[in-house]
């Protein structure tokens, strides 16, 4: 039996999405001598509510891929039903955030509350030594303390999504592919004969099959219609659903003939107004972030480093100053950026490598 009392081999619960990264992660763990237990998370009932069977990381097709890799690796494999946890801590929060005029990052919540929340608890209750995922990220030991470090493949780095992992969690985690380039991962998968070696990466909003505005409309009885206000030309246009627009959006705006390109610069969900203007109007030099977590107590007064403000941004030089224990002010030192309230701001060290803290961007520009 795998969980034999007194057994010497270390056990690891490997979250397998059916994608190439977590498949190779499971393989590498096995190579390392771990007793690997594969697990896929059912977080959304795609059979009932969604026809998109391939774009996600947890559809029936993905479970099938994960199961076949597990079979090939001769490891036990389970599908865990975490639909309830996903609904409460990811979907409901996602919808509420939008209705409050924020642009949330459900992937961060899914990591925090589902993968490293509910699944972490399962790992604990099963008495399994470690939890592993196929995230492109590394863990480093810095003077006896563990920190999250960007992946070797910087283009695939996912440390931004995991900034709020605690030290205790880091000590029980394995990210086996953090030291590999994506091409190397695919090569290993190919060598091992995994059928998903050429599978596309999963996308961010895994539960969305249509567009965001329609999804939100299906989840609330609130009136989502509103007005698009062009502050440059002093024009307004009525729209059915203000959530068809996101801050920073440039394409698909119904204002032709403008000299400069126009952007969505602000969403006022309370008054159901979406403001459109020149890019300069959307730029910010500073902002406040809440729910801030410092990964090292000595840093709590403030520090200069790099701050990343969305998943595709790679970090800009900034100073982070503590206002309260969980609230900070971020000042960019070299440039102004479009910051989107609701997204995470993650602080990296002076080499833009190691995660030192992070929190959620607020509407408050800090000025």
């Amino acid at each position: 039996m795998i969980l034999e009392p007194g057994k010497q081999t270390k056990t690891v619960l490997c979250a397998m999405s059916g994608g190439v990264d977590s498949s190779v992660a499971a393989f590498l763990l096995k190579q390392k001598g771990y007793q690997v237990i594969g697990v896929s998370l059912q977080v959304w009932d795609y059979n009932k509510s969604c026809s998109a069977l391939t774009k996600t990381c947890c559809s029936p097709k993905d479970f099938q891929d994960a199961r076949l890799v597990a079979k090939k690796l001769e490891i036990p494999f389970y599908v865990l039903d975490l639909e309830k946890e996903f609904e409460t801590s990811v979907i409901q929060k996602f919808v509420n955030s939008y209705l409050q005029g924020l642009t949330p990052s459900p992937c961060i919540d899914c990591n925090q509350f589902v993968k490293f929340g509910a699944l972490w608890e399962r790992k604990q209750s099963l008495g399994i030594d470690k939890l592993a995922t196929g995230h492109h990220v590394r863990i480093i030991d810095w003077n006896g303390r563990l920190f999250l470090r960007r992946a070797r493949d910087i283009a695939k780095d996912q440390s931004y999504f995991l900034y709020n992992l605690t030290h205790d969690q880091l000590s029980g985690l394995e990210f086996p592919i953090g030291d590999f380039l994506k091409d190397e991962v695919r090569k290993i998968a190919e060598e091992q004969g995994f059928m998903n070696s050429r599978k596309k990466d999963s996308q961010d909003l895994c539960f969305l099959s249509g567009n965001l505005g329609d999804f939100l409309a299906s989840r609330t009885s609130a009136d989502l219609s509103g007005v698009l206000v062009n502050i440059e030309a002093n024009k307004s246009v009525k729209v059915d659903n203000i959530f068809h627009y996101t801050k920073g959006q440039r394409r698909g705006l119904p204002f032709a003939g403008s000299k400069d390109p126009l952007y969505v610069i602000k969403i006022d969900s309370q008054n159901r107004k979406v403001y459109v203007g020149k890019r300069s109007a959307a730029l910010t030099r500073s902002f406040k972030a809440k729910d801030w977590i410092w990964n090292y107590h000595d840093l709590a007064e403030g520090i200069e480093g790099f701050v990343q403000i969305r998943s595709t941004h790679r970090g800009s030089r900034a100073r982070v100053t503590a206002i309260t224990e969980t609230c900070v002010k971020v000042d960019f030192l070299e440039e102004s950026l479009i910051v989107v309230p609701g997204q995470a701001a993650v602080l990296y060290d002076e080499n833009n490598e190691v995660v030192l803290g992070g929190g959620i961007i607020t509407h408050d520009s800090g000025q």
């Binding site: 039996m1 795998i2 237990i37």
Partner: protein, 374 residues
């Protein structure tokens, strides 16, 4: 690694004698072709039909019809009742294949059985006494809890007052308990499934009185007297006959007695192991008549979706209930017994084969108690 199979209600597993017989099976031709090979296969199908008829005690006039399994059989019988627009009472504790066959049928009512009543028949009859309906669908031996409904007594009482069609799922009781011969039974239609008794999966049988308003659900051929189109699954049908030979050679009394010997020992060992580890548990249906191959126990405050994984990692292959709902937090079938959610979500079903090694029971119970203690 040593593993114990305790999920025989999901699939009994191929019997050795069936495996041996299959090794010699000549699967050439189509049973509906007139040539030599077709005739041979047709003979296999008909021989199995007569073996089922004999085993179940059906008369020559009764329908004995092959289909793909219990799910199709349930859908088929539900279809027949719906075709005649008969008002139906469906037990909410029945398997999903029965309940969901009636979804959207406005003449269906799903009644809950009160598990706190001292006798399940009384619970059902008390409820039905106040109802007006033309057909009843009620499971015989419940697949998740092992509860046995005295379907003959219920049918007798119902039919003393009015004309009621009684249909019953015999999947778990078939071969495991002593049944009233079908020709003497007051039940109008039953269905069984091959893989629950050790045949290949993919074969089920509908047995119905000649008066039952049977009509084809799957059309498209003369097979099964034009009542079920499609080539018969002859390897599975052949294997079913050999599985029946196994069970009939033992006889239902000996089978039931052996099962109860295992179950009684299992329960007493399990209770003492759980008590010694101070694990909270409840045998909710202990006072009710149950089948000898199924043990149902619940652990208040625990979640089966969690402890089943751990049990599996310790080599205990069990389930919370129907495999059709495995992985889901709550079985709708248990809700049909009115079992509160907090009890239902900690369910453990241990269902075993007749050849389960009794010597292993103390070790298995010790592991279960150890896992549930945490």
């Amino acid at each position: 690694m040593k593993r114990w199979y305790l999920d025989a209600n999901a699939n009994y597993g191929l019997l050795d004698s069936v495996k041996e017989a299959l090794a010699t099976f000549q699967a050439v031709g189509n049973p509906n072709s007139l040539h030599y090979f077709g005739q041979n296969l047709k003979a296999e199908v008909e021989e199995t039909r007569e073996a089922v008829r004999k085993f179940i005690g059906a008369s020559d006039d009764d329908y004995v019809l092959f289909c793909s399994g219990a799910t199709e059989a349930a859908n088929w019988l539900a279809y027949c009742v719906k075709q005649k627009e008969i008002k139906v009472e469906v037990c909410a504790a029945d398997h999903a294949c029965v309940r969901e066959s009636f979804w959207g049928y406005d003449k269906a009512n799903f009644f809950v059985v009160d598990y706190l009543v001292s006798d399940p028949c009384d619970s059902v009859l008390d409820y039905l006494a106040k109802r007006c309906f033309g057909s009843l669908f009620l499971i015989h031996a419940h697949n998740e809890t092992g509860v046995i409904f005295d379907i003959e007594r219920i049918a007798k009482q119902l039919k003393s007052n009015s004309e009621v069609l009684v249909v019953s799922d015999f999947v778990q009781s078939f071969c495991k308990v002593n049944l009233v011969p079908f020709r003497e039974s007051l039940i109008d239609a039953i269905f069984i499934s091959g893989h629950k008794i050790g045949s290949l999966p993919g074969v089920g049988v509908v047995v119905a009185k000649k008066t039952f308003p049977i009509s084809p659900l799957i059309k498209g051929g003369s097979q099964e007297r034009y009542l079920r189109g499609g080539t018969e699954n002859y390897p599975a049908i052949f294997s079913l006959r050999h599985a029946l030979s196994f069970w009939s050679s033992l006889g239902p009394e000996a089978v039931a007695s052996k099962y109860w010997q295992i179950k009684n020992y299992f329960i007493s060992e399990l209770k003492s192991a759980l008590e010694s580890k101070l694990v909270r548990f409840e045998f909710l249906f202990e006072k009710w008549p149950t089948i000898g191959n199924t043990i149902y126990v619940t652990f208040p405050g625990k979640r089966s979706s969690e402890f089943l994984v751990k049990l599996d990692l310790f080599g205990i292959c069990a389930s919370a209930g129907s495999a059709c709902y495995s992985g889901k937090p709550l079985s709708p079938s248990l809700e049909g017994f009115g079992v509160p959610k907090e009890l239902a979500q900690g369910s453990l079903r241990l269902s075993f084969r007749l050849d389960f090694d009794m010597q292993d029971i103390p070790e298995v119970c010790k592991i279960i108690a150890g896992v549930l203690k945490d």
